[in-house]
């Protein structure tokens, strides 16, 4: 039996090292030997979960969808054991310039819509699904312009959404897609002028990241890991900086009820097949 719990995480920004070094020390002080392996992209991380390289993975929602499909195809199981309070019930927004005369989905016909990275659930896949549900297909009804940042990072990096927002204010695109909290952040920071944009549409709620347990991972270690996570308290000054860096107030048990929207988007847009193979041709 291994004595060290190995976790995979994607290095989407330098702070990832700070975060997991902090967690490593935090767990060590509480008697759990924990180490982390950094991947440059989620695809390799999910694949590593089936090669026995890591016991758990801090997965994006899209990585969870793929892991779940790969597990089913192999007759094994993965599970989502924990997530942040801030991973639950997010929504994405389709934002237009105020006064641009775009009042409805129909007004987007013939226009250019900005999206995030090709593999961003919040800024690309889910908004595309939302538009399609309202009868609008990229290429046919509107021009999709992608603000690619770091493919393989599943949109973790905020840069693509920010670039799209900036392009919207410059009039280079007619609409931009972004997660609700980023719209709030961009307007608060002044990247989007207050009152200068209007929310044309809001998607249904969906969930974001989770800790995904690899098939055959040692149960006791994983249980201890989850137990320590859920016991982390915002009131504890040793834990609070880590929680702030990772953007949460409270760890919650994992749930898998919030990924249906993304599943639909993945199927409709042919991102992965039912076995978790990558189909998207332009995905690098």
């Amino acid at each position: 039996m291994p004595e060290t719990l190995l976790m995979g995480a994607v290095a989407y920004a330098p702070k990832v090292v700070t975060i997991w070094e902090g967690f490593k020390a935090y767990f060590a002080e509480r008697g759990l030997a924990f180490d982390y392996v950094l991947y440059s992209n989620y695809e390799r991380q999910v694949e590593a979960q089936f090669e026995g390289a890591i016991h758990v993975a801090w997965n994006s929602p899209l990585a969870w969808v793929r892991a779940e499909r790969m597990a089913r195809a192999r007759g094994v199981a993965v599970s989502a054991v924990a997530m942040r309070d801030t991973d639950r019930d997010l929504s994405s927004l389709i934002v237009v310039r105020a006064g641009a005369g775009i009042e409805s989905f129909a007004d987007l016909r013939g226009r250019t819509v900005g999206f995030g990275a090709v593999d961003s659930p919040q800024a690309t896949l889910i908004p595309l699904e939302h538009l399609s549900r309202h009868g609008l297909q990229a290429g046919r009804d509107f021009t999709a312009r992608r603000f690619d940042q770091l493919g393989g990072k599943h949109g973790d990096h905020i840069g693509g959404e920010r670039d799209a927002a900036l392009a919207l204010t410059r009039g280079e695109i007619d609409a931009a897609c972004m997660i609700d909290s980023n719209h709030l952040a961009f307007t608060t920071e002044g990247i989007l002028p207050a009152g200068g944009t209007r929310i044309l549409a809001q998607t249904d709620a969906y969930d974001h990241c989770n800790f995904t347990v690899s098939p055959g991972a040692p149960t006791e270690l994983v249980d201890r890991f989850v137990e320590l996570l859920l016991a982390m308290s915002w009131d504890d000054p040793a834990a609070r900086p880590l929680m702030e860096l990772e953007g949460l107030k409270q760890w919650l048990p994992g749930r898998t009820t919030g990924y249906a929207l993304l599943e639909r988007a993945v199927d409709e847009q042919g991102f992965y097949d039912a076995d978790g193979r990558i189909l998207a041709a332009d995905y690098r």
Binding site: R88, L90, S181, L184, W234, D236, P237, K249
Partner: protein, 410 residues
Amino acid sequence: MNRVFTTPMDASSPPTIDSEALGFDRGAHLLVKHALAGVAVGSTLRVVSKAPGFRAHVVAWCRSQGHGVSFDEAGRALIVRGGYQTGRWRGAERSGRSDPRSPDAVAEQAKASWGLAARGSTVEAGGPEWDFALDRKHEVWADEAVDLYRQALAAQWDPETAADWNAPFELPDEVEDAVVQVMTYLIENENAALLVPARFLGRIHPHYREIMQLLAIQVADEARHVDVFTRRARLKGREPALSTVGGQLSLKTLVDEPDFSVAAFLLSVLGEGTFVNLLNFLHVHAPDPVTRRIARLAARDEARHVAFGMAHLSRRLNSEPELRARLANAIELRHDTLSAGGAGLNEEVFDALVLLAAGEWTPAAIAAGFERVQALQSEMAEGRRLRLCRLGFDEPEAERLASLHTRNFM
């Protein structure tokens, strides 16, 4: 704003605020926060809003703050207050008091976690541990720092206007050369006097605000001294003159001194104290009005620097008389180091002082100048002896140590 809630609290409806058309992109969160402070953790606040985008923003904001939120049939937000805002201040610590005169205002040891926090503020737990080497009161403190800082502020002067740089005078070439040599020497010493407090400044815990402020203004004083002595050196179109190994060796032992109190002793009590005599000498005997004026201005500043050194050492020696032996050792060690290296007041500076005080190239004038410089030297030694006595050194020891001080003066 006194009235937060637009409807009274009663059992049937939760407290409610109306943020009208103010969106979260224009500061509505302030109203919500303010109102939430008035409801218990776990209780509900109802928010009415006509702002576009309100629904998406209130959800995103509540998620980030750890509050729950849902909406009623009328589209009003029902925010359930989370407990995270208060959690942040659990274990927070008050870092003394701002007024240094109130009891327990200034800690005997400043905590690393207080860091840059204003003294008297409440510091959140779990912050970074700062590495301020001088974090004990007795290592740096003097009660007089408050007044000296105020005096220093009131006594700041502008080199541009404090002296009349256009005052007409013409000196014989050799006398002008002598003035330039003395200025060259002064600049070198002022550089040391600037660097010593500057290097300690970055190591003092900001909890000892008054000391930090006083040293900062002292550094600014020295910057002005470098400024005016450089201007005077260049006033008649000359470059600064000679810099000797001996002079720099002496100053290097000062700049290299790692202990704050020992450095304050060597620099302020002995060095700057001696410099006050030198500057007063220049004020009286310099051959031109510009040199006399700037020497006077610098001497006033130096007197404050000496006063802080004396105040700090007196305080520390009071509670730590064994420090006296360390201070005596420091003088002896410096003396030995410098004697071995042949350091001392260089001949050029000594001759220049004589000539400057002579003012002209005649045997009678030179004799007078020589006499004046000798008087200056005994005045300097006497000043050092008196200050050492005031710091509690006994008479013979004070006399002996005063004579061991570097011949470079600073």
